[in-house]
């Protein structure tokens, strides 16, 4: 039973906000301003690679966002942590104080609560505004690219495909090249499981999803050699799935590109005799169905639908103005394709054998 007659415990009053409160708050503010200045004027390459000499235009935009968030984040953190420590010291129970002593019995303060709701909301609104601006640049800011290329993730290497280059460039052995100063669109997809295409200095990252193509748009602003990192778990060798990106002058890039073009394509075309349509169907399901459906041409997944490939006059001409023949199909399966319809991997990338090619051609030709 409660007994109201018992003596109330002693409440220890506090003068103002506490001894040394304002000097401490001012000291923290000075610290925060100093750190903010440091963030904005000192090189931050340790935290953000390439910050003092940005590698891509988007990297500069994203870094501006990082700096804003860092300045405010540091300030909020120091205020909270600082006052936790300050209060723990200044408002501690003194040795020998009666056990039942109580603190200031205050429950709330509508004014204070209003302000500490409004100020964070304002900061958040500012952050949202800044983020949307940068986001818009990342998504839509590049206008029409000078170069569109494809990066296809595989277990456990990257494949780079360029328009006009019949064969792919592979990350196990070769680098991805880009010309300085020209807006580029990188189309990212995967041939098997999820991967990710990430160049830390460029900041942009895109998950490589099978059955889906993502855009990464930027303009390189500095030459150099940079790591391409797979940042989405993809299996046993995820940690050694790496590539190299070389950004070079446009002249050097064209020179490299020309060199790639002259690389010999395989000598004799694959023989299509004895192809088995049923076996071809199995290969199709395993290797091709992630990107192609057996459906009218318009039903694209990544590549166009392939129903009635040799028959249907609605199916566009691909190679020489006439509907594709079995030989044409074989050639594309063997060497891949880059052109207005996109880029398709060649046989090294898809890993199909001579027999597979023959079977696939038999199957695709049989779709009437």
């Amino acid at each position: 039973m409660t007994d109201v007659a018992a003596p109330k415990p002693q409440e220890v009053p506090t003068k103002g906000l506490g001894p040394g409160f304002w000097p401490f708050a001012i000291a923290l503010t000075v610290l925060n301003v100093a750190v903010a200045l440091l963030i904005y004027y000192a090189p931050l390459d340790f935290f953000l690679p390439g910050e003092s000499n940005e590698v891509a235009d988007r990297a500069a935009d994203i870094d501006a966002l990082f700096k804003f968030m860092s300045a405010f984040g540091f300030a909020i953190f120091t205020y909270v942590a600082g006052f936790v420590i300050y209060f723990a010291i200044v408002f501690r129970r003194r040795r020998g104080e009666p056990r039942e002593t109580i603190g200031v019995q205050v429950h709330d303060s509508p004014t204070l609560e209003l302000w500490w709701t409004i100020v964070p909301v304002l900061i958040i609104v500012a952050l949202i505004w800044m983020s949307i601006n940068v986001w818009a640049k990342v998504q839509f800011g590049n206008g029409s690219p000078a170069l569109t290329m494809e990066v296809i993730g595989h277990q456990f290497y990257f494949e780079y495909r360029y328009p006009g280059l019949k064969s792919s460039v592979y990350s196990n052995g070769e680098a991805m090249h880009l010309p300085l100063g020209e807006p580029v669109r990188v189309l990212v997809t995967s041939a098997d499981v999820l991967h990710s295409f990430w160049v830390p200095e460029i900041r942009l990252k895109a998950t490589a999803v099978p059955g889906l193509v993502q855009n990464v748009n930027f303009t390189p602003t500095r030459t150099g050699s940079f790591q391409i990192v797979c940042a989405e778990f993809c299996g046993v060798d995820h940690s050694v799935m790496q590539g190299q990106l070389i950004i070079e002058s446009p002249a050097a890039f064209r020179k490299w590109f020309a060199g790639e073009q002259t690389k010999a394509v395989s000598a004799a075309p694959v023989s299509l005799a004895g192809g088995d349509a049923a076996a071809g169907k199995a290969v199709f399901t395993q290797k091709c169905a992630a990107c192609h459906a057996i459906a009218p041409f318009e039903q694209k997944i990544v590549g166009p639908g392939l129903a009635k490939l040799t028959d249907d006059p609605k199916h566009p001409t691909l190679v020489d103005g006439k509907p594709p023949t079995p030989d044409d199909i074989g050639e594309i399966l063997e060497n891949g394709y880059t052109g207005p319809l996109g880029a398709m991997p060649n046989r090294q990338a898809t890993g199909i054998s001579d027999k597979d090619i023959a079977d696939l051609v038999a199957y695709l030709s049989s779709l009437k």
Binding site: V4, A6, F77, H107, V193, A231
Partner: protein, 578 residues
């Protein structure tokens, strides 16, 4: 199948025992298949700690592996299993059982003046599913183990074979347990509060448990659905996620994260509740902004359902989807920030005792705020494109989980241990353990933030390429490894303390801390029926300057409870003399 139900009884002295069931008899009934929420709470605790030791050992294997850039102790294949079996048990067999199952079960019914939860049988079954699920989970190791992390994204996870299917089954099981507990707690809180305990007189830990239970009840089923779909694809080749037959890998991510984002609030809200109890008690003043804290708990629970796609920004979402999720993700930081400020105002002007629970609570304010701020960095889509899949994310979530949920849990453990056992924990061991953990946590996880920003990706069994261009990364990884052993030492010391104090701890009495919520009005440990007479409540518990707002208490109680001599910490946060 009637649920054994301890309803609120009549108030007259002579028939108040009508609704107290006879005590359980025999070892099995008392300690194994017990219906008593307090015993079940302890069972959850033991189970959670056991799995934490296993999950933590796997974490140390991770840190040892990363001692050398090319990987120091195991193959890539083994490492992938190790990191998966670190995260998976930590999330489902440690965090949720400890914060919800252990503390929630033991404390919540006491705080509302009830004799048990609404459905004690369901509670018992919910518990026993957890060790069963753990057995199924670790049986995956017999089949090569699951490799793709606690998220097990398809298509890669489909390469896990039998282990993958068993992994799905195990988590579906533990999900059922969570769902049932959520439902149980919700009904308990809604229907079984003591007379006079209106919504605004409930302790804040109960509010936190209510918000958590709501999320447990709704979100966990979505996880079961996602994993059921994955299981069907594993075992029956049903193409939910296979693009070649019309499925989508992105669909899994949507279904998975729809649960897994609320899940992180399930981890943290009970910890918030603990902080809201510990701070007033050891500052000897009311919680500041009770209504805002209660409201923001519910706001976080509801808003938390609307932000899941921020885990998927780079993954192929249509661009127009990213922006609303970004705005909502930023928005959900606001109620959390309000809480932090309210807690700061709670300790302002107090008479603070730096006991071990208070140290953990204060440390929580620091480390959780830090983790919350790195969360703001991740909320912004363009910044996230750089941070996703890197060690920055690993640093962030270990700060909010370790520096948030775990600190909150440890605050709760050290705060309520006297109530559970009747003994005080050793203060000196407690303080040494606290400083070890605080140092270990910060030193291990802080470097991960800049390692991630520099370009070190996560889930890497080796980082030789990164080390070539960033030679200092070797130092920082080794630094993190050494620091992690501080946490190991802390846990070892905690274990010693828990066990030693059972026999040798000072006797606690009913209310060693001078606290004001109902659990401190009964004996330590409480009798199996909790309250002989259900108390009547007529005000909020946090007004230290007022007499206790209860009538009909079982024991004669000082209207102005004060900390006992047994509990008084020295004013210093450092171990005082014995």
């Amino acid at each position: 199948m009637e649920a054994g139900m301890h309803a609120t009884p009549a108030l007259h002295e002579h028939d108040s025992d009508d609704h107290i069931h006879p005590p359980p008899e025999g070892f099995i009934r008392k300690y194994v298949f017990s219906l008593d929420h307090k015993v079940i709470g302890v069972q959850y605790f033991i189970t959670g700690i056991l799995f934490m030791l296993i999950g933590g050992s796997f974490a140390e294997l991770i840190r040892l592996q990363l001692w050398k850039p090319e990987g120091a102790i195991m193959s890539h294949e083994a490492y992938n299993v190790v990191y998966t079996m670190h995260g998976t048990p930590m999330v489902w067999l440690v965090l949720i059982p400890l914060v919800t199952g252990a503390i929630g079960n033991f404390v919540m019914p006491l705080q509302i003046g009830a004799r048990d939860v609404a459905f004690p049988w369901l509670n018992m079954i919910s518990f026993w599913i957890v060790p069963l699920s753990g057995v199924v989970l670790f049986s995956t190791l017999l089949y090569g183990g699951a490799h793709a992390g606690w998220t097990e994204y398809p298509p890669i996870s489909l390469q896990d074979g039998v282990a993958g299917a068993l992994w799905c089954l195990s988590i579906i099981l533990v999900g059922v347990s969570s769902t049932m507990t959520g439902m149980n707690f919700m009904v308990t809180i809604i229907k079984m509060r003591a007379p006079g305990m209106t919504w605004t007189r409930m302790p804040l830990f109960v509010w936190a448990t209510l918000a958590t239970a709501l999320m447990n009840m709704i979100a966990t089923v979505a996880l079961s659905a996602a994993l059921l779909a994955l299981f069907l694809e594993h075992v029956y080749n049903v193409p939910f996620f296979d693009p070649s037959r019309g499925g989508s890998p992105l669909l899994y991510q949507h279904m998975f994260w729809f649960y897994s984002h609320p899940a992180v609030y399930i981890f943290i809200l009970p910890a918030f509740g603990v902080i809201s109890e510990v701070l007033p008690t050891f500052a000897r003043k009311p919680i500041f902004g009770y209504k805002m804290i209660a409201f923001s708990s519910m706001a976080i629970a509801i808003l938390g359902f609307a932000v899941w796609a921020h885990h998927m920004y780079p993954s192929g979402l249509a661009p127009w989807i990213q922006t609303p999720f970004m705005i909502l993700t930023f928005a959900v930081g606001v109620p959390t920030g309000i809480k932090i400020f309210s807690w700061l105002a709670t300790i302002w002007g107090g008479r603070i005792q730096l006991t071990v629970p208070m140290l953990y609570a204060l440390a929580f304010l620091i480390t959780f705020t830090f983790g919350g701020i790195t969360g703001i960095f991740l909320a912004s889509v363009p910044a996230n494109l750089h941070e996703h899949g890197s060690y920055f994310v690993v640093g962030h979530f270990h700060y909010v989980v370790g520096g948030g949920a775990v600190f909150g849990f440890l605050a709760g453990l050290t705060y309520w241990y006297p109530k559970v056992t009747g003994r005080m924990l050793d203060e000196r061991m407690g303080k040494i353990g606290f400083w070890l953990f605080f140092a270990g946590l910060n030193l291990t996880f802080l470097p991960m933030h800049w390692l991630g920003l520099e370009g070190m990706a996560r889930r890497y069994a080796s980082y030789e390429y990164f080390a070539k261009t960033h030679p200092d990364s070797v130092f920082w990884n080794q630094f993190a490894t050494v620091s992690s052993f501080l946490m190991v030492a802390s846990v070892a010391l905690l274990a010693v303390n828990l066990i030693w104090s059972l026999r040798h701890g000072k006797l606690a009495g009913n209310n060693p801390w001078g606290a004001r919520t109902l659990e401190w009005m009964i004996s330590s440990p409480p009798p199996y029926y909790n309250f002989k007479k259900i108390p009547i409540v007529y005000d909020r518990p946090y007004d230290f300057g007022e007499p206790l707002p209860y009538r009909n208490l079982d024991h004669e109680t000082d209207p102005y409870p004060a900390p006992t001599r047994a509990s008084l910490a020295g004013p210093a946060p450092f171990p005082a003399g014995a």
